[in-house]
Structures are given as structure tokens and as C-alpha cells.
């Protein structure tokens, strides 16, 4: 540690050496290894470029097709939910139809009585009233009824 205390000694020429070493034969093998790696990379780079452009083209085409399919699916779903239905079976509309039918039936009952006897009575009374108002002959009236 005394050595460290001498600051000037730190920068002496002896310390210009690095405290590192390399595995045996490293620099002998390195040029060959690098050469092979560069050639390999060059080959990979070429094929990668070709593959990359094909993949890019395929990706574009698939994206386009996917877009169309998605649009078709959305349109089908939309049509299914929004289409006009011929028979509406919802409870509210059933109830509405029943109310309308009932109203029509009631109004028919008011205008034209379905009971035959009451129809007869009503008609007779009306006819009598008509003949009396019209000063019809009583005989004729008797003959008729």
C-alpha cells in the first residue's frame, strides 16, 4: 500500500501495462473466426433481405385481407341485430295487438248487436217508428208484421 501512497509512482512507465490477459491462442484464432463470421453475416444479410421483403409483402396482404374479413363480420353482426322482423313476438307488442283487437271488437258490438233477438226487437221498433212517421196504411202495417 506504500506504493500507492507515492502518487508519482502511479504514472511511472511500469504502470502503463494493463492488468488484463487473453485466453491462450486468442489472437491466432481471431482472424479466422472473424472472417467466417463476416462471410456468414453477409450470407444471412442477403437471405434476410429477401425473406424480409417477402414477409413484408405477405404481412401487407394479410393485413388487407384481415381488414376485409373484420369489416364483413361487423356488417353481418350489424345486419343481424338491426334487421326488420316480420313477426314481433316481444311482450309489449303482443299486449298492444290484444288492446287493438279488443277495441275493434267492442266498437263492432256497439254498432251492430250480435244477439239475434235484440236485433229483431230493435228492427221492429225502428220499422214501426218509420211506418208511423211515414203515415203508412195500418193494414199494410198489419200485413207486414
Amino acid at each position: 500500500m506504500n506504493e500507492l501512497n507515492n502518487i508519482e509512482n502511479i504514472f511511472s512507465s511500469a504502470n502503463r501495462e494493463l492488468p488484463f490477459d487473453v485466453p491462450n491462442g486468442y489472437f491466432e484464432d481471431l482472424p479466422e473466426r472473424i472472417q467466417n463470421l463476416c462471410i456468414e453475416q453477409q450470407g444471412l444479410g442477403t437471405s434476410k433481405t429477401g425473406k424480409a421483403s417477402f414477409a413484408k409483402m405477405l404481412k401487407t396482404q394479410l393485413s388487407l385481407a384481415g381488414g376485409f374479413i373484420a369489416l364483413a363480420v361487423i356488417a353481418s353482426i350489424g345486419f343481424y341485430f338491426l334487421r326488420p322482423t316480420s313477426i314481433d313476438n316481444t311482450p309489449a307488442s303482443k299486449e298492444y295487438i290484444q288492446i287493438v283487437q279488443k277495441s275493434i271488437y267492442n266498437s263492432d258490438q256497439i254498432g251492430s248487436p250480435t244477439n239475434k233477438d235484440s236485433l229483431k226487437d230493435n228492427t221492429k221498433d225502428e220499422m214501426f217508428k218509420h211506418l208511423i212517421d211515414d203515415n203508412s196504411d195500418f193494414v199494410t202495417l198489419m200485413e207486414k208484421y
Binding site: 500507492l4 472472417q35 462471410i39
Partner: protein
């Protein structure tokens, strides 16, 4: 080690028949200098080996475009330095650590990692260098260990000579302080 000049090697590299051979010779010529430059930055041998491979793959891909405006050595040195710094940044990102923490981690591995040996003072100097900011560390390594001229360092790092001198001066001061305090 080849005795061919850089110019001759580059001419050979540009010729298809001798391209691979020339590249092999370039690797042989500069591998050790580049390795030690990388090793000083990333410390571990395995990491240095990875960075060496990446460096030479870049060199292989870019050597055709090398116009010779600078020396081949400074061009290679610049690639190796950038690759080493990129490697350190990736490590920092991977471990979600600020760079200084990763370098502290490197300092702690100096005594236990394989292929690291040397005197106590050499190891302490490496630990002190790991406390420096990135630029000062680069400049100190190039000036002190590789004994490069400021002009060459300027060409490699793209920094002015004045700024490099200041960086080196600060680096030396910090290292001295580190030893004084320890």
C-alpha cells in the same frame, strides 16, 4: 503481422479475388491494438470479444466505402470505440442502471473476473479510471496507455486538440485525487 501498407491492403480488398485475404491481413494487423482499446473500456474479455466481432463486421461492411480521407488505423479505432460505447450503453439499458453504476460494477469485478491479473497498483489505476466521465476516460486511455498523439485522438473522437488536452489534464487530476483519498 503483415508488412503490407494500408494502401496496398485496401487495394487488395477492393479486388474480388483478394478481398477475403486482404481482410484477413487487416484483422491480423490491427486486432491487438483494437482489442486492447476495447478491453480498457468494457473490461471483461468475453465482452471485448463480442465488441471485436461487431467491430470487424462493421469494418467488413464499410471498408468498400472507406475513401482514405483519414488513416485506416484511426478509422478502425473510431469504429471500435463507438462499438465499445454502444455496448456499454446497451448494458446500462439492459440492467436499467446509470452508466456510472455499471462502471462501479465493472470496478468491483476487476479482482474476481477471469483473465484479469496485474499488480495492485495497476488494478487500482483501472478502478480510478472507471470513476472518470466517459470522454475523460477515453482520452486518458488513448493518451496514457496507447500513447497516441493529440492529433490522432482528435481525428478518432472528432474533438479539438485543446479540448482533449483539458480532458486529459482533468483526468490526471481526478486520478491523483482518487489515490490521495484512498
Amino acid at each position: 503481422m503483415t508488412h503490407l501498407s494500408d494502401k496496398e491492403l485496401l487495394e487488395m480488398f477492393r479486388c474480388d479475388e483478394t478481398k477475403n485475404y486482404a481482410f484477413n491481413l487487416i484483422v491480423r494487423k490491427y486486432q491487438e491494438r483494437l482489442y486492447w482499446q476495447i478491453r480498457k473500456l468494457v473490461i471483461q474479455h468475453d465482452d471485448s470479444d463480442d465488441v471485436m466481432q461487431n467491430t470487424f463486421i462493421k469494418v467488413w461492411g464499410g471498408l468498400d466505402g472507406f475513401r482514405g480521407d483519414s488513416q485506416l488505423f484511426t478509422w478502425l479505432y473510431r469504429i471500435a470505440t463507438n462499438e465499445a460505447l454502444t455496448f456499454l450503453k446497451k448494458k446500462k439499458t439492459k440492467f436499467m442502471l446509470p452508466l456510472v453504476d455499471y462502471e462501479q460494477q465493472l470496478a468491483s469485478t476487476l479482482e474476481s473476473s477471469p483473465h484479469i491479473n496485474g499488480t495492485e497498483i495497476q488494478l487500482s489505476l483501472q478502478k480510478a479510471i472507471l470513476t472518470l466521465p466517459e470522454k475523460q476516460r477515453l482520452v486518458f486511455n488513448m493518451k496514457y496507455f496507447d500513447e497516441l498523439k493529440y492529433d490522432e485522438i482528435s481525428e478518432i473522437l472528432g474533438t479539438s486538440v485543446g479540448a482533449l488536452k483539458a480532458s486529459y489534464h482533468h483526468a490526471v487530476k481526478k486520478i491523483k485525487k482518487y489515490f490521495e483519498e484512498s
